[in-house]
Symmetry: C2
Subunit: 222 residues, 2 copies
DNA sequence: ACAAAAGTGTTCGATATACACCCATGT
DNA sequence: ACATGGGTGTATATCGAACACTTTTGT
């Protein structure tokens, strides 16, 4: 017997309150009814895996066109009491300025700190741990960090993202020098003033310049 | 409809004749009958994905306990004319001293240069390309290269593996210094003499020392 | 003797890290 | 005036890259 059900689970990360947070939903049906879980669902007939993940993402958050990457496939027999279910896990990065659409699935959904989630259904604790590890690694040698910020952001915002995900403080001057060398940020004319501190210059990510780096073989500059 | 067939495909690499080679099988049945393909097959009921990959590996080569890592999952609708087939691809590294067991599947199987394979069935050219890319990346910051060599090997052997996979020459002195710093090779008393050249010292990989590096947070020293 | 691969150190540039003070604004 | 985060430069250590000759063996 080689028939199985195939699902996608999408670990959606964001930055809220200066911390890395993950979207979880409370299950409304057995198994694990009432438990928190990583959002996911069955792949439809004729639907690609990544398309299914993007669909779940949009159903859950109302958001499209975000960073989405395949993570790992979990298929141990017995991981789902309903029978053989193979799940292809993805992870996604949600910009911190995007609000969750009100529960389209009528299911309860909320952000949880990624390092302090509630008990999770199925083997979802493993999936979450794996996603966090992958995100940390990616952050160190890629530029995915920008995907967690609004289009316009300050260097302080960006550094805060890196610190939240990596879980350690970074040196401001070294961080900025590294970014300057990469030359993938475009300084904008505007500033943003927060609280009673000096206004900070806003930047945006330049996909074009990043592509040029890639073309020159500098694949993962971070 | 969420039922699908689940297969595992295993991209098996080795070093032969100083080149990176990949094991391919000629398909005996439709679809793509007579075409070359990456070995694989259906996941059995109650069988884990990695277990299925290890079984395919052993059926095809007679070899067990080799380096095996999940690569990516391909599930585009239409990738298999028989219907919805999701394949979880793995890649494996076969030591260069291991001989293929005579065709247990009665199917033709042979090594092909990884950079010049014949036309492949399904989307297997994509899978192979992805596996090569991953292997190259892994080689640069991990120690998987040892998995392609016999237990006892010379530094020249090891460098040849890296050069074959990366596709570029490496500096002998820099290569050796790096290894010395890592301190994961154990020099043996024996030497091996090849042709009419000076005999070379044999080494073996020390998994114990490698684990110590990992414990100290030096995850991927290469 | 010579062909073949083994073995061995140093220099240089680039990159990563550590570290402290002044600036512009709101209250 | 002071509290808050923004902004800036220098010195040092570490790592990677480039580079050439001697040694040991078989023929």
């Amino acid at each position: 017997m080689s028939e199985a059900k195939v699902t996608v689970d999408v670990v959606m990360f964001t930055i809220r309150e200066g911390r890395l947070q993950v979207l979880l939903v409370r299950r409304g049906i057995p198994p694990f009814e009432g438990q928190w879980a990583i959002p996911g669902g069955f792949v439809l007939a004729g639907e690609g895996l990544e398309a299914a993940a993007a669909r779940e993402l949009e159903e859950e958050t109302g958001v499209r066109d975000v960073y989405l990457e395949q993570l790992y496939t979990f298929g141990d027999p017995g991981r789902d009491p309903r029978g053989r279910v193979v799940t292809v896990a993805y992870f996604a990065l949600i910009r911190s300025d995007l609000e969750l659409a009100a529960g389209s699935d009528a299911a309860e959904a909320r952000w949880w700190p990624a390092d302090a989630p509630p008990p999770l259904a199925f083997d979802h604790d493993r999936i979450l741990a794996y996603a966090i590890e992958r995100l940390r690694n990616k952050l160190e040698y890629t530029t995915v960090g920008f995907q967690l910020l609004p289009e316009r952001f300050t260097l302080g915002d960006l550094q805060a993202v890196y610190e939240a995900v990596l879980g350690r403080p970074l040196d401001k001057r070294n961080f900025r020098r590294k970014l300057e060398l990469l030359d993938i940020l475009v300084p904008l004319a505007e500033h943003r003033t927060a609280g009673r501190a000096r206004p900070a210059r806003l930047y945006r990510f330049s996909a074009a310049r990043f592509e040029k780096l890639r073309d020159k073989g500098i694949l993962f500059p971070f």
